[in-house]
């Protein structure tokens, strides 16, 4: 299979579509940026789809083309790792709406100009439908598992609810079945920061290369705080000053935590498109799996043969354990085989990206019980 041009790192495909979107519009053609790792077996039964978080991408275990940094889940995915690419065929694609090779506001519309804000508003389920198109293109009917953290976990739940026959197992980490008012509120702060940047110009900033970087940086700074825990921040920075002996009584980044957030914000605006941030946060805010199923979350999983595993972290206040429990209750009520564990880790919501050995054990045990 290795000579098959559909497989390997840094792939792009343009599928004819049309993709009918929840918002009523259709998308055609549908571009998808993706990567695959490992080898698809003859029975095509060893495929694992990994879904990425808000600002993630398909570069899960390969260096990021713009930053040169290792893939965002390189510690989890690879030969002999918890998601073992010697055993599994791993697929990761860039969600539609994003800016790393999939159709999004930066893509060209049929008139030859970037969509910008003419791009249709998308949902988590739309992202999943596009992934299903990719799966068809790869010639794979059924996934051994779909795995995702945060927004990736929303996609994993949506996969299991939308295509129950195509998903044997779903691993949902640090996620939720619906965005809370608090989640939406934080996202709105970020969107307003972007739209308040004079360089945003109604989203029409692609032509001259001057983007609303300052607004996007502020959005990232606010969001980044929600990804960490208070104790983690205190441990890392406390009230220590940055490269100075005393406070300046001004508005420079006196504190280390300020300088850290400014760096996070600026480096993010170098690699991410502001309009994509608007579209993807909107998709997350609209996510409510119960609402899609008559108000009863259990109905989303009724009759499902999919095995589920939910993992939360005790320091995650963005998607706290109660959100995972909410899903587990629904899974119990629907009779689906479900596992759930709250892991202890100091890193807040970001724990799923960081070194938490208990997570490795859960992931490998859940994905490969016979190993």
């Amino acid at each position: 299979m290795s000579e098959d041009q559909r497989f390997g790192p840094d792939r792009r495909v343009t599928l004819p579509g049309p993709l009918a979107l929840d918002g009523g519009a259709t998308l055609s053609p549908v571009e998808i940026g993706y990567e695959t790792y490992g080898t698809l077996n003859a029975a095509k039964s060893n495929a694992i789809f990994i879904t990425h978080a808000l600002t993630g991408d398909q570069h899960i275990a390969s260096p990021h083309p713009m930053t040169g940094k290792p893939g965002w889940w390189a510690r989890m995915v690879g030969p002999g790792k918890p998601i073992d690419t010697d055993r599994f065929f791993v697929i990761c694609s860039n969600v539609i709406g994003s800016c790393m090779g999939s159709s999004g506001p930066g893509s060209l519309a049929p008139d030859g100009a970037p969509f910008a804000m003419r791009f249709p508003v998308i949902t988590i389920r739309d992202m999943v439908r596009a992934q299903a198109l990719l799966l068809d293109h790869l010639g794979i009917d059924t996934l051994h598992a779909v795995v995702g953290g945060s927004m990736g976990g929303m996609q994993a739940l949506s996969w299991a609810a939308t295509f129950p026959d195509r998903v044997q197992a779903a691993l949902v980490i640090a996620s939720t079945a619906r965005h809370s008012a608090q989640n939406i509120a934080f996202h709105e702060v970020g969107r307003q920061a972007i739209m308040a940047d004079p360089n945003w110009r109604g989203g029409q900033y692609y032509a001259d290369g001057v983007s609303p970087a300052a607004g996007l940086a502020v959005a990232r700074m606010a969001a980044h705080i929600t990804y960490l825990s208070e104790s983690g921040l205190t441990e890392k920075f406390g009230r220590r000053l940055q490269a100075r002996e005393a406070k300046t009584f001004g508005f420079d980044a006196d504190f280390q935590v300020e300088s850290y957030l400014r760096h996070q914000g600026l480096s993010f605006s170098d690699r991410f498109d502001a309009n994509s941030y608007l579209y993807i946060t909107r998709a997350m805010d609209y996510f409510d799996l119960a609402e899609e199923h008559g108000g009863m979350l259990a109905n989303a999983f009724r009759g499902s043969k999919t095995r589920f595993c939910l993992v939360s972290f005790d320091t995650d206040w963005l998607y706290p354990t109660s959100e995972s429990r909410n899903v587990v209750h629904a899974l119990n009520a629907s009779g689906a085989p479900a596992s759930f564990v709250e892991l202890s880790a100091p890193f807040g919501h970001d724990s799923f990206l960081l070194d938490v050995p208990a997570l490795d054990r859960v992931v490998s045990g859940f994905l490969c019980p016979e190993c």
């Binding site: 596992s339 892991l343 859940f366």
Partner: protein, 195 residues
């Protein structure tokens, strides 16, 4: 690794291919045995996170949760058997947990350490101290056991509640002991119950 004696009795008497909920399943030893030996569809609830992780690593379906509160999430008769092994004495309301067990399971296996065993009696009677024995190995200040009970207490309770005893086994160490003197001689009891 061989199963603890009370678990081994339960494993022997669970019907092949049945659906089982193991409440307080620890690291999933019984569930794994039931799955591998009897093709049982086993689910577990366990309060301790590291035990849940261990059971998950065995490929089992286990939910971190509390027997006192979380059984309410399961529909009626969703399992052929609900199992509560050495957990009853750690619950806040054992009576309600038993009711829930017999609601979600058609039958229930319940095992518990017998507080009327002669060694326990001797320890309290002659030593004047709360017993620390083979089956109750933890000192009073750190024991998870908050509702100690005896075999006769349990018999009386199920009689009052019109719960049927379909089977009972009494263990002294690893060995079965007779029913008549069980309250005195047995360290552990296993009951199979139904409504």
């Amino acid at each position: 690794m061989s199963l603890r004696a009370d678990l081994s009795i339960i494993a022997d008497h669970v019907r092949s291919g049945s659906r089982v909920l193991d409440v307080g399943c620890s690291d999933g030893a019984l569930m794994a045995e039931l799955r591998d030996r009897k093709g049982v569809d086993a689910r577990g609830i366990e309060i301790d996170g590291s035990d849940v992780t261990a059971a998950l690593a065995r490929g089992l379906s286990v939910i971190q949760g509390d027997a006192d509160t979380d059984l309410a999430d399961y529909p009626d008769a969703s399992f052929d058997y609900a199992i509560l092994s050495q957990t009853l004495q750690t619950t806040r309301r054992p009576d309600r947990v038993l009711d829930q067990l017999l609601r979600v399971g058609s039958k229930a296996f319940v095992s518990f350490p017998n507080f009327a065993h002669w060694r326990v009696r001797a320890s309290l009677l002659w030593g004047g101290r709360m017993p620390v024995t083979r089956s109750l190995p933890i000192a009073w200040y750190e024991t998870p056991n908050i509702h100690h009970l005896t075999i006769d207490d349990f018999r009386a309770h199920v009689r009052e509640r019109d719960i049927k005893v379909e089977g009972s086994w009494f263990l002294s160490g690893e060995k079965l002991t007779g029913e008549a003197v069980a309250n005195f001689r047995a360290e552990h009891a296993v009951f199979l119950l139904s409504r």
